[in-house]
Assembly symmetry: C2
Homo-oligomer: 416 residues x 2
C-alpha cells in the first residue's frame, strides 16, 4: 500500500460492490458498526413480521393444527434444504435441529459405530472447546476405550491419522484466528487412513464457499446464528452423507428419529433417511426466525460473497497495520486471503477485552476471546468498506491516546 | 346425576370459579373450544409483545450485548426457577433447556453412572414412546449391558424392582389414558430397592400439584408447551436433586455445562451445580416466549388449579356418559378424580380420528392418539364449564347423526 486509503476510497469500494444492496435487508442500529456477526448475526427485516405471524396466527389462531397447516413439522427439512445449498450438500442430507453440541454428539457417536475396533478420535488442541468437550462426553459414555488426540498444530493433523483412527473431527474455520483448513485434502487423508470426518461449519456457513459433496465429507454440523443470522441460539444444522443414512443409529433416538413418529409404537424403529438425526420436538419460534433469515440467502452468489469477504478482511488488515502500528497488536489471522475465513484476529498482551470495550463505547462492536484475542467478523451481506475504514479510524484513536487503559474498561467482564 | 346439567348450570359453575379471571390472559380464537392444551397450550397475551421486543430491541438493537444486558445467559436458570415452584422443586435444581427427549438422555445416562453394576431400567410398556426410545439409545450407547424392562401394567411396577434395578423411569400422568402414578410410593419403592427414579412430568407440570422435593425424587424432565403454554416446541425442563449435582457427569458435556464456559479451556471441567445439565446455546426466542408465558402462573394457587381440573374432567365424563351413550365410546381414564390428570380419554372401535375431525369441523379441538383413543385436555386456566358443556353437546350431535362417518373424515391424517 503506497498511500493509506481514505474514507472516500472506502466509499468508492462500496459503490463498486455487487452485494451492496443486500444491506438494506438488515436492521443495523444507528451509529453502530457491527463487526461481530461471527458471534451473532444482525436481524434481517423479514424476521420481525414472520415471527409475529408465527406467534399470533400460527400459534394463536391455528393452534395444534399448525403442525400440519403451517408446516411446522417440515421445518427441520425445509430449513435444512436451504442451508444445503450454501454448504454444497446433496438433497435430503441436511436438517436444522438441536444445538451444534448435541448434533456433534449424534454424528460422533454415529461415526464411532461405523468404525468399530478403531480407538482414536483426532481433533485439534485449538478446536472450539465445546467440540472437544462433547467428544470427551461421547468417549466416557461409550465406555472409555476411545482416546481423544489433541493435535497441537494444523500441519501435524495429517500425520496423526493412522489405522487406529476412527474419526477426524475438525472445525473448518478456526474460531480464534480464522484459519481455514483444506477440507478436501484432510477429508481425503482421513479416508485414506480408513477414518471418517466430521466438519464443524460454525464459522463457514454463510462466510465462504463450502462443497461438502465434492469433498466427499461424511458428517458436518454447524451453527445458524452467526453468518446465517438466524437469531440468538437459533437451531443448529446437521449434515450426513447419503451413505451414512440408514443401517445404524445415532444414540439420541427421540420420536422424530423414528420411522413412524406418530404411530406411537412401543419400540424404536429407526428412520432410514436424514430424519434419523432428529430427536425431540423442535423449538418452532426459533426455527421460524431462522427460516425467515434465510430468505436473504436465496439469491446470494457464494463466489461473490467470498470475494467481498476477502476484500473486507484484507482491507481491515492493511488499515490496522498502517494506522495502528506500534500498539502491540499482532495479527494472528493468515495474511493469505485463501487461508482465512471472514474474520481477522489480533493478539494484544494486556489490552484484551478493555480495548474491545473501549471500541464498543465508540459504537464499534468487535469481540474478544480469552485470554488475549481481539476478534473482528466481516459479514459480506451487510458490512461496508466504509464501516471497516471507520472502525479502524476509531481503533487508531483509542490506541493512540490509550483511552482503553482505564480501570473501568479493564473491569468489564465478557459473558458470551 | 339425577338430571343432565344444562348450559345454564355450566354457566353457574363458571360464575363460581375462582380461576375464571385467568382466561382473559389468553388468546382463545373466536368460535373455538380448545380441548387440546395437553398437546399445545394456547397463546398467552403477554408473549406477543415480549417476543416482538426480543426480536426488535434485544436482538435487533442490543445484538451480542443482550447476552449480558438482556439476561439471555440467565434464561435457563430464571425460567427453571419459575417452573420449580410449580413442581415442588428446591432452589437451583431446575433448568429450562433442550427437548424432553434430550433431557431424558442426560438424566438416564447420569442415573446409570450413579448405579454401576446394576443392569435393569424399569419402564412401562404404555409409557410415552419417545421416552422408551431414548432409553434404548442410551443402552446401545453404553455398550448394551443394560436391559429395558417394559412392565405391562401399572400395578406390576413395584414388583418389578429388584437389586439389579438401576433406574425406574416413568411418566407421571399417562399420555393416553390420563392415569396418575403415585409418585411418592413408587419413588420410595425404587429407593427401597436401591434404584433411582426419573419422572417425566410432560402431562403434570401446570396440570396438577407435584412435589418433587417431598417425594424425594432423583431426576425429572418435562415439557413446557402443554399446560405451561410456552409455545410450539418450547424448550423443556430438567430437575436434578441437590444430591445429584456434582461428582459425576452427564454425557452431553457442551460448553454451557462447563465450570467456566467462557474461559475456553481445552479440556472439559464439569460444573458442579445444575449447570452441568445444560449443553449448547439455548434457542433464545423460544426461551423468551416460554418466560413470558410463565407470567400467568406466578399468581396461580396449585390446589385451586387441581380442584378445578378435577371438576372439569368429572363434568365432561358425566356429560359424555349421559348424552353420548350407545355410540361405542369407552372411558379409559380413571373415574376416580384423584387417579387422573387433567385429561379424559375414550376409546372408539372405528371412529378414531374421524370423530375428532368432525368435532374440529364444528369448532371443538380435541386430540387423537393412535390407534383408537379420543383424547380431551382440560386446562383449568382457560377452559370454562360452558366450553365443556358445548363440546359434549356438539359431540352428541355428531355421534347421533353419524356425521363423522364419511370418507372425507376417515381420510384425514393426523400429523402430531
Amino acid at each position: 500500500m503506497t498511500q493509506i486509503p481514505s474514507l472516500n476510497d472506502a466509499r468508492q469500494m462500496d459503490a463498486a460492490d455487487p452485494l451492496a444492496t443486500c444491506r438494506a435487508q438488515f436492521h443495523i442500529p444507528d451509529g453502530t458498526i457491527y463487526l461481530d456477526g461471527n458471534s451473532l448475526g444482525v436481524l434481517p427485516h423479514a424476521v420481525k413480521g414472520r415471527v409475529a405471524d408465527a406467534v399470533s396466527k400460527e400459534w394463536g389462531d391455528g393452534l395444534i393444527r399448525s403442525w400440519n397447516d403451517a408446516g411446522w413439522v417440515d421445518l427441520p427439512y425445509r430449513i435444512g434444504a436451504r442451508i444445503a445449498r450454501l454448504i454444497g450438500a446433496e438433497e435430503n442430507c441436511v436438517v436444522a435441529t438441536d444445538s451444534t453440541s448435541v448434533n456433534l454428539f449424534k454424528t460422533l457417536s454415529a461415526a464411532l459405530t461405523l468404525r468399530p475396533g478403531r480407538h482414536r478420535i483426532i481433533t485439534e488442541e485449538r478446536n472450539f472447546p465445546t467440540d472437544n468437550y462433547i467428544a470427551e462426553g461421547v468417549i466416557r459414555q461409550c465406555g472409555g476405550q476411545h482416546e481423544l488426540v489433541h493435535v497441537s498444530t494444523p500441519e501435524a493433523i495429517a500425520a496423526a491419522l493412522d489405522s487406529d483412527t476412527a474419526v477426524l473431527m475438525l472445525t473448518h474455520v478456526n474460531y480464534r484466528d480464522g484459519r481455514v483448513h483444506d477440507m478436501a485434502a484432510l477429508t481425503q487423508a482421513a479416508h485414506d487412513a480408513g477414518a471418517l470426518v466430521i466438519w464443524d461449519l460454525a464459522h463457514s456457513a454463510g462466510a465462504l464457499e463450502v462443497d461438502l459433496c465434492a469433498c466427499n465429507v461424511d458428517f458436518a454440523v454447524g451453527c445458524s446464528y452467526k453468518y446465517l443470522n438466524g437469531g440468538p441460539g437459533a437451531p443448529a444444522f446437521l449434515y450426513a452423507a447419503p451413505r451414512h443414512q440408514g443401517g445404524f443409529q445415532q444414540p439420541l433416538t427421540g420420536w422424530f428419529a423414528h420411522a413412524a413418529p406418530f404411530a406411537f409404537s412401543p419400540r424404536y424403529e429407526p428412520a432410514t433417511d436424514i430424519s434419523q438425526y432428529l430427536c425431540g420436538t423442535a423449538p418452532v419460534l426459533s426455527m421460524i426466525a431462522l427460516d425467515a433469515a434465510l430468505d436473504v440467502w436465496d439469491s446470494v452468489d457464494m463466489a461473490a460473497l467470498r470475494q467481498k469477504s476477502q476484500e473486507l478482511t484484507g482491507f481491515f488488515i492493511d488499515l490496522v497495520e498502517a494506522r495502528c502500528a506500534g500498539h502491540d497488536l499482532t495479527l494472528i489471522t493468515p495474511r493469505d486471503a485463501e487461508a482465512r475465513g471472514s474474520q481477522v484476529s489480533f493478539k494484544h498482551p494486556t489490552g484484551g477485552y478493555a480495548i474491545i470495550s473501549a471500541l464498543i463505547a465508540e459504537g464499534v462492536i468487535g469481540d474478544f476471546r480469552a485470554p488475549d484475542v481481539l476478534r473482528f467478523g466481516f459479514t459480506p451481506l451487510y458490512t461496508r468498506f466504509e464501516d471497516v475504514w471507520t472502525a479502524v479510524d476509531r481503533m487508531a484513536s483509542i490506541l493512540a491516546d490509550r483511552r482503553w487503559d482505564t480501570p473501568e474498561f479493564h473491569a468489564r467482564k465478557k459473558v458470551t
